[in-house]
């Protein structure tokens, strides 16, 4: 006897309902949690208890929520950079290295120091932001040039440069700028700290202990800017066109090489700014552990947000939650597992956006 039903996959011809992408993404996240739960169960933990702890660790109090926003800040900036690059179908995974270089360049302002440390706070912090942007942008320029002029695979160059950046950073924090031989620089002077909500605790007691810092504002401004660029600017149009149809873009006279370099530089700059915001807003020194894998999580954030700059913000907050909760729970690789699962399910669920799956009875086929 034959199986009475037939599964058919057909290409979608009509326009996609507006809610579809959102629903499939949410579904992917949900299924990722369920599968991770099953894995937890199989290794003998209690998934319900772990996830309960997970959410209370992440969203339990204002303090915890502010911690999440702090973690989301670099993810927003990096995710936006990834949006730009992915729109052009350039898969750069170099945000981690650009983040480190941004942090390093920004720290030079205080470590060298490039300005006297009794200068006004605004001057020091603006210079640090500029340096962070330059550091990240230069580090994005290298793979950009290699891709544009020598057609060298961006994925691998950016990944290799990530390792190089970590060693570069180590060289300085173990050596010249080390704090008494420890693997970190001395704590920065207060002048180089980004203002936090907790600084206003005297006036508004509610803010005491709230770690949220000015960096989140950088992220929000950047989101608006990237949205404007992609939606209204000529450059944004060129990026989208190159991504959708590079041949057509070439015939239209768009300079693809220049755009590759530009996109790599701008996404690098955003990651560099994220590095600056992290050392000045959170860590207040340069050390080996300044990134909780922000570069890679930022990439997943961009993909889950379907490359929409505004969607990056809530997704980054979700991932911030994963990182905060991941610090607290065992086994420690869990948040990594869930992130990987989410990305994997999101790209697999894309098939639902492009194709319809129809189940029909075999008899119908005959008639």
């Amino acid at each position: 006897m034959k199986f009475p039903f037939k599964v058919k996959i057909e290409k979608r011809i009509e326009d996609l309902p507006k809610w579809m992408p959102l629903v499939t993404s949410l579904g992917a996240v949900l299924i990722a949690f369920i599968i991770s739960g099953i894995v937890l169960y199989l290794i003998g933990s209690n998934p319900i208890r772990v996830f309960k702890y997970f959410f209370s660790a992440a969203f339990g109090s204002w303090g915890a929520f502010s911690d999440i926003l702090v973690k989301a800040t670099p993810l927003i900036l990096i995710g936006l950079g990834c949006c730009l690059a992915f729109k052009m179908k350039i898969i750069s995974i170099g945000a981690e290295g650009q983040f480190f270089m941004g942090a390093f360049f920004a720290s030079l302002v205080v470590l060298v120091p490039l300005v006297p440390l009794d200068s006004p706070k605004v001057l020091v912090l603006s210079l640090m932001a500029v340096m962070g942007i330059i550091g990240g942008a230069l580090y994005g320029l290298i793979p950009g040039l290699l891709k544009a002029y020598f057609n060298v695979n961006v994925i691998i160059t950016t990944l290799m440069l990530n390792y190089v950046a970590v060693y570069w950073n180590n060289y300085w924090i173990f050596g010249k700028y080390s704090d008494l031989g420890f693997q970190m620089t001395p704590t920065f002077d207060k002048v180089a700290w980004l203002p936090r909500l907790a600084d206003m605790a005297k006036e508004i007691p509610f803010f005491s202990g709230i770690t949220l810092h000015l960096g989140v504002v950088f992220g929000l401004i950047a989101a608006v800017l990237i949205w404007l660029i992609l939606k209204y600017s000529r450059w944004g149009y060129e990026i989208t066109l190159i991504g959708d149809n590079p041949k057509a873009a070439e015939y239209a006279g768009i300079n693809i090489k220049r755009n590759i370099i530009l996109v790599m530089v701008v996404s690098g700059a955003l990651a560099g700014l994220a590095g600056m915001s992290e050392v000045t807003g959170v860590v207040h020194r340069l050390q080996e552990e300044i990134s909780s894998n922000y570069g890679f999580s930022g990439l997943i954030v961009a993909w889950l947000a379907k490359l929409n700059p505004f969607a990056v913000i809530p997704v980054a907050i979700l991932f911030g939650g994963l990182i905060v909760a991941g610090r607290e729970i065992q086994p420690s690789g869990l948040s990594f597992l869930i992130q990987g699962m989410i990305l994997f399910l999101v790209i697999s669920s894309d098939v639902l956006l492009r194709y319809k799956i129809r189940v029909t009875r075999r008899e119908e086929e005959v008639v």
Partner: protein
Amino acid sequence: MNLEAILRAGLSTGTILIFATIGEIITERSGVMNLGVEGMMLIGAMVAFKVSHVTQNAWLGLLAGILAGGILSLAHGLVSIHFQADQTVSGLSLTFLGTGLALVLGEGLTGLNVPTIPDVDFPLLSSIPYIGRIFFTDFNLLVYIGYFLVPLSWYFIYKTRPGMHLRAVGEKPSAADSLGVNVYATRYLYTFVGGCLAGLAGASISIAISPGWYSSLTTSGQGWIAIALVIFARWNPVPAALGGYLFGMLRRFTLDLQGPMAILGFRNPFFYNHNLVFFLQMMPFLLTIIALLWGSGAARRKRKGAPSALGVPYIRGERGL
């Protein structure tokens, strides 16, 4: 600084890269690009180590590690062959997934002692003067398997009928399909084979060549170097093997460089300033970029490069490659 020691270390640790690189070459030859090598290696390393610990049998561990890499690769196969998803991103997500799974399931394995694949002398060949001592004495068994795998995979790809089908599916799937080669099945099969070899690469770290489980540091980026080697070698196992052994030698060379106080009469800066070690550690990664630069230049000049259908999903009945 002992050249013989460096050469032998290169042959030994290069084997890991060679397994992973040849696996990826076979997968990419079928038109599927799997960037998840690092994840598959890590899961292979963890499973091999764990099974070897539980069963106290290194051979079972090896087998389990190989299968673990293969099974994980099937996830990528499903998403990229049937769902026609973006293969780059799918491969990346496989790396995250493999890393996450390996970390969660490998919790508490660090520091355990497990049975390992033995070091052996190669029968007969080890008694050849000089050459026998360098190439065929006191290596891990898997190193010799690596020696065989290189010519074997070359022969398979270029000289056999299934090898020709493999290349046809990667170059022009529609033509292969019209000649009765099952494109989907071929791609699944070689994605699986590539995954198995990546799993073997991982297992050869954790239970054979440098035994131990050090969470994500076990592979420390070698999966990515393997992918770069594929491009450098222009999808041919023989240059890939040379590249793999060279990288292994380089790794040992940078370690040895820190030892002596003077090199050829010059003061050795790496001996006096230990922080310069970080620059030595950058070397494999910088050289990978240089190798890639060279590889893509050579590919352009010789018009020999990636399989034409690499990364392009095949949809039966639609126009395309």
